[in-house]
């Protein structure tokens, strides 16, 4: 159900990198030989007469998988397209991404989905999976042909960008899930509570005179939807958690045995609404909004305790002219693929092994194979220099858009090489090849 333009199978020896894969238990300095795009040998003192990459002082991780990105195709190619979005993913160490269906037109019918998959086979640098919408046109009124969409390759269903606000429609989607299968991913927000809000509601919004989005806008809908999912025995995934109350709502639901998982994004793990007092930068405007330090800590604890299952970027590119406007006028969203690992690693909020694990944990939730560094597996790996410091620029991204909330920050951890589905999809230009 993943599509990409195949890259020539890699034949490369990565020598002497610190190999860390929490799932296989590897945590040592090792050589990894990749032949024909598969991991052929893991050991010490391996010899290879082909391409050899010196991994000394670097780390080799299983490649990252992002269950939540916006590639903007079809219809919004001025923000991003399949080629630029997946190039951005590769530069961030991602070996697979899942694209959201809130495009123009919406991915709500099999023909639209099939044409997207065809395009991905021509253009996508790393494998892409596609979600279809829960309701036609994201209008929240009528279910899509979920069974046919699944047959056409939809990984699951989401109205991301909007909640499925009518409880009765969500219930029917969950009933229909028993036939169609596929995860139902939910953007949780009660529009009657969010209103015209543009940032987190609290002290900072009071100071700035901006309309706030209260935390309960998210958590109340999570609680409602968890109850519906529990009643129907459905499987739901909650997107981009931002508030402490939401983490508590998920923990409650999990304790009751509801089949619920969730994600948090790098910006919610590392930034708070206090940033807006320093500079009212539209790159810091996203939905859900940056919240307080207490919320940030709750998300970090949630990842450590397992209440939060994975890290997802919600990579949301917007064109420069769309973001170069007053804060209230700007669209919501930040790019995130190229900065995901470095942002979380630099903030030092989680142990390294947990960062690595949570950055690929989204795969399993979406029904995709999880990358593992193991002999016989397709090579899905990323080589990173943890020591390398770099400044996130105003421009110069692989993504077509520049609206990165980390712009101007110095981060540690630079992706040197990404191998996805067995092919080398990214190589940092300065990489020394022995």
């Amino acid at each position: 159900m993943l599509d990409h333009r195949p890259t020539a199978p890699a034949d490369v020896l990565i020598r002497g990198a610190h190999v860390l894969d929490p799932r296989t238990g590897l945590d040592a300095r090792l050589d990894v030989l990749i032949r024909g795009g598969e991991i052929a040998e893991i050991g010490s003192g391996l010899q290879f007469d082909g391409d050899v990459v010196d991994g000394t002082g670097k780390h080799l991780f299983p490649g990252f998988v992002d269950p939540h990105v916006h590639l903007r195709v079809p219809g919004q190619e001025h923000k991003e397209d399949l080629e630029s979005g997946t190039r951005s993913a590769a530069a961030g160490g991602f070996v697979a991404v899942v694209a959201m269906p809130n495009t123009t037109p919406t991915v709500d019918s099999a023909p639209v989905l099939r044409s997207l998959r065809d395009a991905a086979r021509r253009e996508a640098r790393v494998p892409v999976g596609f979600m279809a919408s829960v309701t036609l046109g994201l209008d929240g009124d009528a279910l899509t042909e979920m069974a046919e969409l699944r047959d056409a390759g939809a990984l699951g269903f989401t109205d991301d960008g909007k909640p499925v606000y009518r409880a009765g429609i969500l219930r029917k989607a969950l009933q229909y899930q028993k036939l169609a299968g596929g995860i139902i991913a939910l953007h949780e927000e009660d529009p009657t509570l969010s209103g015209k809000g543009v940032m987190h509601e609290g002290e900072v919004s009071a100071r700035l005179g901006l309309t706030g989005i209260p935390s309960i806008s998210e958590s109340t809908l999570i609680a409602r939807d968890a109850a519906i999912a529990g009643y129907e025995g459905g499987r739901i995934h909650i997107q981009h958690l931002s508030a402490r109350e939401s983490v508590e709502a998920i923990a409650d639901a999990k304790a009751r045995g509801v089949r619920i998982t969730c994600e948090a994004s790098p910006h919610h793990l590392t930034l708070t609404d206090a940033e807006l007092l320093r500079r009212l930068d539209t790159r810091l405007k996203m939905n859900p909004p940056l919240r307080t330090e207490d919320d940030r800590q709750a998300l970090i604890e949630g990842l450590k305790s397992g209440v939060i299952d994975c890290i997802a970027t919600d990579h949301a590119p917007h064109a420069r002219e769309e973001k170069e406007v007053p804060f209230e006028e700007a669209p919501m969203g930040t790019t995130g693929l190229e900065t995901a690992f470095a942002a979380v690693y630099t903030a030092d909020v989680l142990p390294l092994a947990l960062v690595v694990e949570k950055l690929s944990a989204g795969a399993e939730l979406m029904g995709l194979p999880t990358p593992r560094i193991e002999v016989g597996r397709p090579a899905d790996v990323v080589l990173i220099d943890l020591e390398a410091e770099w400044e996130v620029g105003e421009a110069g991204y692989e993504s077509r858009s520049e609206n990165c909330c980390f712009a101007g920050r110095r981060l540690r951890g630079k992706v040197l090489t990404t191998i996805a589905a067995g092919g080398i999809v990214y190589r940092e230009r300065k990489l020394s090849v022995v």
Binding site: E201, G202, E203, V204, S205, A206, R207, L208, G209, L210, T211, G212, P214, L280, E321, E324, V325, P326, F327, E328, E329
Partner: protein, 310 residues
């Protein structure tokens, strides 16, 4: 100081310096020729994206009293209606080489954005619900004239705090000048988190403790969003009238007043009200602000790296 975007840009000493200078300008208005040549040849651009009577006219009068040339630009009837972005409008108008841009917009932070797009100085004349720093300065000026000092004063700001840029700038300015501020209004119209900035009350029960009562405008359109059930109910709970205002309290209002809503007619016309003095202070205080930003500064040169569209 290059721009006046927020009261946060000023410390107490700077506020006092500006207001002391404003005081010296009162004499100009009393002359037969109400003008000084201080800023002859300088250009001030008034860029107003929202309706305004007193702010726009007092900025214009202030600039002209200092002999600056004034260009007024209103968004209606302009290329803004053809969809020109704020950035393009500002860069286009910057080609006229203004020394100062006075801007009012319905959007928070817009004045700060403009400051990044032009080489002119920028005065925030109201950015959405965020701030209106010159209003706060003229309010402090008026209170200094009336009471000498703000130190230790108990100031109540009553009404729709949620939607009020005047309230936000005044909380900062009054606090910097040594007063203690309490905001009071319907709980639906006091933003969550306000208690980090000042005291919060939901009834007028403790209003007698106030030295100054600052009433905010209650806008009709707030009814449609259920912020208050009716103007009648609002007036019953929060209207400042002769019964609630005592003889030693000073009454302020940023205008325009809704008679019979936030204020009863008898207090508007009472000697405690300084609403007229506030308007009068507008001109001299804005003269002082413009003078502060322009006098002694060389005319700005456009940066070579900033492309200015024709």
């Amino acid at each position: 100081m290059r721009h006046l975007l927020s009261i946060e840009d000023l410390d107490r000493a700077a506020i006092e310096r500006i207001l002391d200078r404003a005081k010296t300008f009162t004499e100009v208005s009393e002359r037969e020729i109400k003008k000084v040549p201080a800023l002859r040849g300088r250009r001030v651009l008034n860029l107003f994206y929202e309706a305004s009577t007193r702010t726009r006219s007092s900025f214009e009068l202030a600039a002209k009293s200092l002999s600056a040339d004034v260009i007024n630009f209103a968004s209606s009837g302009s290329s803004v209606e053809k969809g020109e972005s704020l950035k393009d409008t500002v860069q286009t108008l910057s080609a006229y080489r203004p020394d100062l841009i006075v801007i009012r917009t319905p959007h928070v932070g817009a004045a700060a954005l403009v400051a990044g797009w032009t080489t002119a100085g920028v005065v925030n004349a109201g950015d959405g619900k965020h701030e209106h720093p010159t209003q706060a300065l003229l309010d402090v000026y008026t209170l200094r004239e009336r009471l000498g000092s703000l130190d230790g004063l108990n100031i109540w700001i009553v009404g729709d705090v949620l939607h009020s840029r005047v309230a936000r700038s005044n909380i900062l300015a009054f606090t910097k000048m040594g007063a203690k501020v309490t905001v009071c209004g319907p709980p639906t119209l006091i933003p969550r988190g306000m208690d980090a900035l000042c005291d919060v009350a939901y009834t007028l029960d403790d209003l007698p403790s106030a030295d100054v009562v600052y009433a905010l405008r209650m806008q009709n359109e707030r009814m449609s969003d259920s912020f208050v059930p009716s103007l009648r109910e609002y007036a019953a709970q929060y209207q400042i009238d002769g019964r609630r205002l005592n003889a030693r309290q000073v009454l302020m209002h940023p205008g325009p007043v809704n008679r019979g809503v936030e204020l009863a007619a008898e207090v508007i016309d009472s000697p405690q009200a300084v609403i007229g003095q506030q308007v009068e202070a507008g001109v001299v205080v804005r003269m002082a602000v413009i003078y502060e930003l322009l006098a002694g500064r060389n005319a700005p040169q456009p940066a070579i790296s900033t492309p200015i569209p024709a």
